[in-house]
């Protein structure tokens, strides 16, 4: 069971909002890069987010660049899952490859600051602030296996190949 606060964002949170391209030169200095997570969407996010929190978006979360650094800096901020109504393809794959769950659900009734309990196995999100329970869509099996191993690197280290 994961428990944490929701940081609510709107639709179309691009990879440029998550980690702007202007910081591309910091991609081999991850602690420095991570200081800019979500900077152009909410400048206060980085100082408020705590280990265990969640990012909650709307439609088309993570659209844009293939930069894996986008889910990487979110993960480094301590975020344990991303919830969104829909997610861009490359971002989805990148997040799972880093062992960061992306849960597709109707996020309309989750508000900024709500405390959520998420049962990944049961597929249930409990918003303890407003008492509402949500279910999230099934993650495709091949991605679930990668997620279960903690990401693509540990998956390949263990299996040596893609096992479908």
């Amino acid at each position: 069971m994961l428990t944490g606060r929701a940081f609510k964002f709107g639709d179309d949170i691009s990879t440029d909002l998550i980690i702007p391209g202007k910081y591309s030169y910091l991609r081999s200095n991850l602690p420095e890069l991570a200081k800019h997570v979500m900077e152009d969407a909410d400048t206060t996010f980085v100082s408020r987010v705590k280990e265990g929190d969640f990012i909650v978006g709307g439609n088309n979360f993570g659209l844009g660049s293939s930069r894996e650094h986008a889910p990487l800096v979110i993960k480094m901020a301590g975020v344990k899952a991303i919830l969104a109504k829909s997610v861009a393809r490359i971002f989805f794959r990148n997040a799972i490859n880093l062992g960061l769950p992306v849960l597709i659900c109707n996020t309309d009734e989750i508000y900024d600051g709500d405390v959520l309990e998420i049962d990944l196995k049961a597929g249930i999100i409990n918003d303890t602030t407003n008492g509402k329970k949500l279910t999230f869509g099934k993650i495709p099996e091949v991605m679930l296996h990668i997620l279960d191993e903690g990401g693509l690197l540990p998956y390949i280290e263990k299996h040596g190949d893609f096992k479908l």
């Binding site: 440029d16 202007k22 591309s24 659209l63 650094h69 495709p140 280290e157």
Partner: protein
Amino acid sequence: MGKTIAEKILSAKSGVDAYAGDIIVAQVDLAFVQDTTGSLTVRQFKAAGFKKLAKNIKGAVFLDHGAPSQSRELSNDHILLRQFSRETGAFLSDVGDGICHQIVAERFAKPGDLIVGSDSHTVTAGGLGAFACGMGSSDVAMAFGLGKTWFRMPESYKIEVSGKFTAGVNAKDLIIYLIGQIGADGATYKSLEFGGPGVKNITVAQRLTISNMAVEAGAKVGLFPADVLTEKFLVERGRSDDYKPLIADQDAVYERTIKINLSKLVPMVSKPHTVDNVATARELNGTKIQQVFIGTCTNGRLEDLEIVAGILKGKHRHPDTRLVIVPASREILLTAIRLGYIQSIIEAGGLILPPGCGACLGLHQGVIGDGEACLSTANRNFKGRMGSAEGLVYLSSPATAAVSAIKGEITDPREYL
């Protein structure tokens, strides 16, 4: 059952008779990285214990996003990537050679190929009939080492085009129009497959522009059939052996069909801050712009520079509008010099940058300031994209951009042709 182009390529590369929705593992022909995603790829490749590229794969490293490097940190990443190239034999395209997607089209991509790159605009090579798909650093690292990766076979949308572009209208207007119609997530996980009688009227350079922006509708790939124009493009580069015809089967199954008559399209613009926030150029006539940026993997090709030089020749940019132009590759720059395009552009007050990505991603070379508006021929206008979250980025064709540079405001180019 008939197959789409995507189904044909991924079936051939996986050895499985696969259709939309199937999960397959496929052999990759070309895997590549660029200089902002490559360092993570190299670290993941090494962490997984790989030392060599898989035997079946061609690997490539492109130093194009910071070309030349704007900082010590990025220069150190360039050192790491050159070293990786030396150790593994991956092809090295160094600073000044050009943008990864342009070089891939000029030198490597061919009909039927399966290409993965750690850059979202890897889709560009779909213009040549290659299943070319953007992925993250870890996926490309594993593709380097294993020579394969997994895919979910996408459903396909057929974009059936008819007619011909009219004067002042081209590929960029088509793709902006299409994204406006279906939305920035309108084709998420899908293959956009272009077909119909109008395809023969779209040059390969223009196909590359269209495929390049398939990802801006969320698509996994943007595919064109391989036809006589594809063959001509390859033959002109001494690559006649790389050609094979590739078309979808007559009875292929499409999730959706969208018809577009090229003859009816007008100059289009994407407004801040999403690509699907579209308007006609005419609707935006009079919008002041402080910079025009022409180039990138979307519109930095020779045909684009020909249009731009033709418009600028004997004219001058507006005094309040900077004009920054970046050819997409060394080959393009050299040819544009030989044909006099560069002279026309510089005499018109334009500034030529070395082949590369330039200011597109806001890293350097033409970053905009707070409150400034830039009309760009690139593919993205997200908030903060060109370096300032307070800046505004509009997207258009090269013709619209060049005419607007002269006027100092967004202008429908048809009024000046």
